[in-house]
């Protein structure tokens, strides 16, 4: 009888463990789905999509130039913001010019913004790694607390790309904690391509890699260098084409920034316009 009871307990414990595992695996997807629904609801509840100063000035125009650059036609069409990396504005431009009502564009843009949620959950899971119901609850609160920023929420009914540009960076942090440096570096590079202001902040990624490694010192340094090379690669792959366009027209791939830095390169390559 005792053996049967023990065997039954073992089976139950196995089933409970499997259910617990399934719950943990489902957590990020459920949170992402809920976030998507809530994010999509914001413009609908607000009765439309907000057009900010920046939207009137350059967001839609940049989305337009993402389809086909216009430096051969326009000059400062959207003032000096015309030179920003334009591709993240393409979705909002396309929705706007395709005749979507503003209340419904959150379905698409909210979905893009919700891509940050699984990365946040991944980080929460690294900080609160337990499998008990309590841990699930704490991770959920952590994700909610993460999103509870006036800045972040204000972007859910705005065409600004700041949240979208930060998403690869958050994923880079998540994968850094997983010790997947190459992927983390590549995503870090993508986030810099999306927004150059992410560049200085990306300096913390190698520091995180150094701290997070359990390998000998020289191997850590080597990993760090490899990770940095992946940052460069991620940046080059995503920013490369736009950088070339700016180089072609202005002799500076990050025009109008650091123009004097590229002056010697222009002389060296015989660039002229």
């Amino acid at each position: 009888m005792l053996d049967i009871a023990q065997a039954g307990d073992a089976d139950m414990s196995h089933v409970t463990g499997a259910l617990r595992q399934a719950r943990v695996q489902l957590e990020p997807w459920i949170l992402t789905l809920i976030a998507w629904i809530l994010f999509a609801a914001v413009p609908w509840l607000e009765g439309g999509y907000g057009l900010s100063w920046d939207a009137l000035n350059h967001h839609i125009y940049l989305g337009w130039t993402a389809e086909a650059q216009r430096f051969d036609k326009d000059f400062l069409g959207a003032a000096y913001q015309s030179f920003q990396f334009p591709y993240l504005y393409w979705p909002v431009y396309k929705l706007a010019t395709s005749g979507w009502p503003g209340e419904t564009v959150g379905i698409v843009l909210g979905g893009l913004h919700a891509l940050v949620v699984p990365a946040l959950w991944k980080i929460a899971n690294a900080c609160i790694p337990g499998r008990a119901v309590h841990d699930t609850m704490m991770r959920t609160i952590a994700v909610v607390m993460a999103l509870m920023s006036g800045v972040v929420l204000s972007l859910l009914d705005s065409s600004a790309n700041d949240l979208m540009a930060a998403i690869p960076f958050v994923w880079a942090l998540a994968y850094s904690l997983d010790k997947r440096l190459q992927l983390a570096g590549f995503l870090g590079g993508i986030s810099i391509a999306f927004k150059l202001s992410n560049g200085p902040l990306a300096c913390v990624l190698p520091v995180l890699w150094l701290m997070n490694s359990e390998r000998p010192h020289w191997s850590r340094l080597r990993d760090m260098v490899v990770g940095c090379l992946w940052i460069v690669m991620g940046f080059a792959v995503v920013y490369g084409y736009w950088g070339l366009v700016l180089w072609r027209y202005f002799g500076n791939p990050v025009y109008p920034f650091y123009d004097e830095v590229f002056a010697p390169l222009r002389s060296l390559t015989g660039w002229s316009r």
């Binding site: 900010s52 036609k73 326009d74 706007a96 704490m138 920023s149 902040l201 995180l208």
Partner: protein, 394 residues
């Protein structure tokens, strides 16, 4: 741009506290009170004290301590570079995860930890919602298609012409509604074609378009004729802005008034429901005139010495060689875009500055006092900027 960069070490150290204030312009343009960095600081102290008392029995996952270090490092980098919350979103997000992660490390019962997490999250939610983050940036609202309504031009125009804009907001969101061959330029952002710069050459090239040049500008009802076309006063003001580019607006009757419900919605948000409809844009063909280089006195203004005296004393806010001199009624003005500052030297002898967040301008002294150094500029007390949010004044 130093809009959100702290001016002093004290402001930098107290930025987490400043971020809790329900004020705009603290770390982002909108009101976005955030308690999480203060919570983080208090939780780190609590965890460290708990470790001291319990002699290392509190285990902090490596992920939390590593993320704490990089967040602190990123915070410093952020304050040095921009201090603008829109460029720090990744760590605004991470701070929330870290708060709850640290709570989970506290030597308390599960129930207490969960309750504390819910309490702090509730405080943060209440703070964020008290400032209503939604629609915070909107000047206009995109409801139904089209996203920004504009009446189509009726007069026949060359579809390969150049259209120049001169307003601070370029309204380039309307460009995709025009024929794709039209060439766009916010010409007042560009240096005049007479200068020896790459940008000037591009400006010269686009303005020399043989298909003609037109102006696209928001109409000002109060300065319009009875036919809604630009009156003589506004034509003169426009010509003052475009003369350096070899352009002139001569005939109002060649202009076209284009109704815009999009501009209506913008006007309604700004002035309230009583604002009447019938807002729109003027589309006016421009004529070319001979390009003239302004002489130095005209470019720098007749009060250049006064401007320079202030710039030398306070280069952080009045950075030399970054502002053009504008002629205004009763004096001259320099706008320092990098620091959101305006400096006025008036014909009546007074010198004033105005920071963009302040309601009131501040008198610095008379022209003579500034030039002789008898009225030193206190760069550490800029009305509307210096100090913590509750110290800045208006």
């Amino acid at each position: 741009m130093i809009r959100f960069v702290p001016d002093t070490l004290r402001e930098a150290l107290l930025r987490p506290l400043a971020m809790t204030a329900p004020d705009g312009g603290v770390y982002v343009e909108i009101m976005a009170p955030d308690f999480r960095f203060v919570f983080l600081f208090l939780l780190v102290v609590a965890v460290l004290l708990g470790r001291l008392r319990r002699k290392q029995t509190i285990k902090i996952p490596g992920s939390i301590s590593q993320l704490l270090v990089v967040t602190a490092l990123a915070f410093v980098i952020w304050l040095v570079i921009t201090g603008n919350g829109r460029y720090f979103i990744q760590f605004l997000l991470i701070s929330g995860v870290l708060c709850v992660g640290l709570i989970n490390c506290l030597p308390l019962s599960k129930f207490f930890r969960a309750s504390l997490a819910v309490l702090l999250t509730s405080i943060q939610i209440a703070a964020v919602m008290s400032a209503d983050p939604f629609n915070a940036w909107a000047l206009a609202t995109w409801r139904d298609a089209p996203y920004f309504d504009l009446q189509k031009p009726q007069k026949p125009r060359d579809e390969a012409q150049t259209i120049v804009t001169i307003s601070t907001i370029t309204y380039s969101l309307l460009a995709p509604q025009f024929p794709a061959n039209i060439r766009w330029s916010n010409i007042t952002s560009s240096p005049p074609p007479t200068q020896d710069r790459l940008e000037s050459r591009y400006a010269k090239e686009i303005l020399a378009n043989p298909h003609g040049v037109s102006l696209f500008v928001p109409a000002i009802k109060q300065l319009a004729t009875s036919e809604h076309l630009p009156g003589a006063g506004i034509r003169q003001a426009i010509n003052n802005m475009i003369e350096d580019y070899g352009l002139v607006l001569q005939r109002a009757d060649a202009c076209e008034f284009l109704l815009s419900k999009g501009l209506d919605s913008l006007s309604l948000r700004q002035r309230g429901a009583e604002s009447s409809a019938q807002q729109g844009f003027w589309l006016c063909p421009l004529e070319r005139v001979e390009l003239k280089s302004k002489d130095v006195t005209k470019r720098k203004g007749k009060f250049a010495a006064v401007f320079e005296a202030v710039e030398i004393q306070c280069p952080r806010f009045f950075k030399p060689d970054t502002a053009n001199t504008l002629q205004i009624q009763g004096g001259e003005l320099r706008q320092y875009g990098g620091s959101d500052m305006k400096l006025y030297v008036l014909e009546d002898g007074d010198v004033w500055y105005k920071y963009f967040r302040a309601i009131n301008p501040v008198r610095l002294g008379s022209r003579e006092e500034i030039l002789t150094g008898r009225a030193p500029v206190d760069c550490s007390k800029i009305l509307g900027r210096s100090g913590l949010p509750w110290e800045r004044g208006l």
